[in-house]
Symmetry: C2
Subunit: 416 residues, 2 copies
């Protein structure tokens, strides 16, 4: 029997698009993420050791070590890491994803997303909002104080609120947000408000303290990225459902650790194909320039992997004031991605394209054949630890990783 790649890809993309990610809970990472143990930190992107980590990832590691109480100050945290007493593994190895540095430690609260179609689960930490935040490598005392508040007061309220529900349908939320000018990655304004709308009555129901309740409602509502992390976990749950289909050339993970950009392919098991990450092109906040930019970082490319983000940019013309370009560029971005994908999403549609489904299911064969890499929308981190976000923009993975993957595919499936 010959290998039917087309059929395998249809199976994979059908699994991806039929997955139904439900946000069912908030819990401590150590209690729900498989294999997350004391002394282990999860991070964005493919595997990397301390020596090769970029500034923002190092900063987030220092912050997480301090948050966990594994060290008292920055210097002793660095020594601890340098003595090799902290283990690092990708979020992706544990069913998790995290934006930017993506550092997730055992005592952090995480979202639990369940794919009710196929039964797999995915996780993501909670979004910290703007300014100095761990995910951009900041670890000042106020950064850790905010994380402590999120881990205790906010997470408990979210967990209790979600416990009173049957789970929030993140697929329906995303479908609606794409009709409201979001693309689900850099622009989650509408999605975050839909999220607030779904949670607010339940929060009112379970809140024991009026001040805490007001603070959480304001924090969720004022942070236009509130829903990014649940959305990323939803995309991880959808992409994982498509992983491991024998003979499929579809990409099931794209992720960056701030140094390398890596992908995984459905029919190629858990192998990563990596290459040095590019630095995004974009718009910089006042006082910063491209000289300050760290190379591309974060697991948030799971959104593009699942057919949203830059792939749905035609739905979000207003985003160009944040990431650069014109509304026509945004339209073209989506149109271009149909060239390298296998299907049009049956649930995620774009009104301005006559409700056409978003391009979904990146085929490494098409990427290599056309020399056309996936588009990615992204935040831009300062290259030094402790500073934070300096802009937002557009980037692509290096084509070499798709070429590597295609060679490995030929090898694995014995093509001559």
């Amino acid at each position: 029997m010959t290998l039917d790649i087309e059929q395998a890809n249809q199976t994979a993309v059908q699994r991806m698009t039929s997955a139904r990610p439900m946000l069912t809970g908030v819990a401590l990472a150590r209690d729900v993420i498989p294999g997350l143990r004391e002394g282990l930190l999860l991070h964005a992107g493919p595997p990397i050791e301390w020596e090769r980590m970029s500034g923002p990832l190092r900063g987030a590691v220092i912050g997480a070590v301090l948050l966990e109480g594994w060290a008292e100050d920055e210097a002793s945290a660095s020594r601890l890491v340098e003595r090799g007493e902290i283990t690092f593994e990708p979020c992706h190895h544990h069913g998790a994803v995290g934006p930017m540095a993506g550092v997730t430690s055992p005592s952090m609260a995480v979202y639990v997303v369940e794919n009710s179609t196929h039964g797999n689960r995915a996780f993501s930490n909670l979004n910290e909002g703007y300014g100095k935040v761990l995910r951009y490598g900041a670890y000042a005392p106020e950064v850790l104080d905010k994380l402590r508040w999120m881990n205790t007061e906010m997470a408990v309220l979210l967990a209790d609120a979600l416990d009173t529900s049957d789970g929030l349908d993140l697929k329906a939320l995303l479908a609606e947000a794409l009709h409201m000018g979001d693309e689900g990655h850099n622009r989650n304004k509408a999605g975050s408000l839909l999220y607030l709308k779904l949670l607010a009555p339940a929060i009112a129901r379970v809140a024991k303290d009026r001040v805490a309740e007001e603070k959480v409602l304001a924090f969720l509502g004022d942070n236009a990225l509130s829903v990014l992390n649940p959305v990323m976990a939803a995309c991880k749950a959808m992409a994982d459902a498509a992983h491991g289909v024998e003979g499929s050339t579809l990409v099931t993970a794209m992720a960056r650790n701030g140094t390398d950009f890596g992908i995984r392919v459905s029919g190629l098991g858990d192998q990563w194909f990596t290459e040095l990450a590019e630095t995004p092109d974009g718009l910089y906040f006042s006082g910063f320039s491209a000289d300050d930019a760290n190379p591309d970082i974060g697991d948030s490319t799971i959104t593009e992997t699942a057919g949203i983000g830059a792939f749905a940019m035609a739905a979000a013309p207003a985003i160009v004031s944040f990431v650069s370009g014109t509304p026509q560029d945004a339209l073209n971005a989506t149109l271009e991605m149909y060239e390298i994908t296998t299907a049009e999403h049956p649930s995620f549609t774009i009104p301005s394209l006559d409700f056409r489904g978003t391009p979904v299911g990146i085929d490494i064969r098409q990427v290599v054949e056309l020399g056309l890499t996936p588009r990615v929308n992204t935040g831009i981190a300062h290259k030094e630890a402790g500073i934070g976000q300096v802009g937002a923009g557009l980037v692509r993975p290096p084509i070499a990783i798709f070429e590597q993957a295609l060679v490995a595919f030929a090898d694995r499936y014995n093509f001559s």
Copy 2:
């Protein structure tokens, strides 16, 4: 000195677009709406007497008489009206606007909107959500029960919440909503969520009863028209700021009472120009057809008067699944309206048109010269009292009212 119409229109449209409507409070209509007295009901559109009222307006009148306790049942309410014991005046004569039937009675709670630029105020009743509602002419006991709940529990919570704020900036809210797929008239999904986001923390702060709080947060969040009424009052405040400019041919009110479509013109004082209203073309809910439709009704055309609604349809491609047509039609609707308007709105912009300002300031001269009437998005009411909404669609005012107005203008300003 000759009359400089262009200059007058620039003055008028500049006043309209520089107005800054702030939602400052919720109060009982009798306490804030000038001239609203016992035995008087306000209604949408130009003046009309009971004999000429359509089904949905009659139904809303009956409901308001019952709500006020001026009669015990439908039959006695009808008799009371037929004996001439109830006075009817347009909302517009009292600085107010109401969607569909627009019936506003003294004990109803209303939004108070203040134009902080020019100092004028405007009012609108509270949105009832979907299903059987007074604004579509329903007056069953559950309709009145919901209004009583809104007038007591919800209005008190909203009033207390707004009292803790410096007012909500409805102009900023609208500008943002237009970047999130709303057009501000038939589609207020994003605006209603922004409204919820702004209010939720304040509601948590002032709520005394957890059950009431949860119910109000759910009602505001689940009703994608929650913000329509404050938005209409905001548009009224903006349009009123442009009214009364000597020599201006700009339209400052468009309104329908279910029988007649009427307009007012900035330079023509308080005179209405009216003609029989058309019946909208659109999509009907299951079980209903064009045979069930009442002629065009409601003050919500104040949105188009102020440069949003159908004039901003290019911002809201997803709306076509509700009002009919294609996304290209939506784009064309906006483009066409530039032909009959004086300016592009400096604050309300459309991302997909490269952030061009919405067409604003309808000039009766251009309407008549081009034979091109304003576009209107609208809900469709059943023609009989008590039934409710049967669909949504598109409509235009009769051109005759613009011709009448132009003749009156020539008369008033002594053109030969």
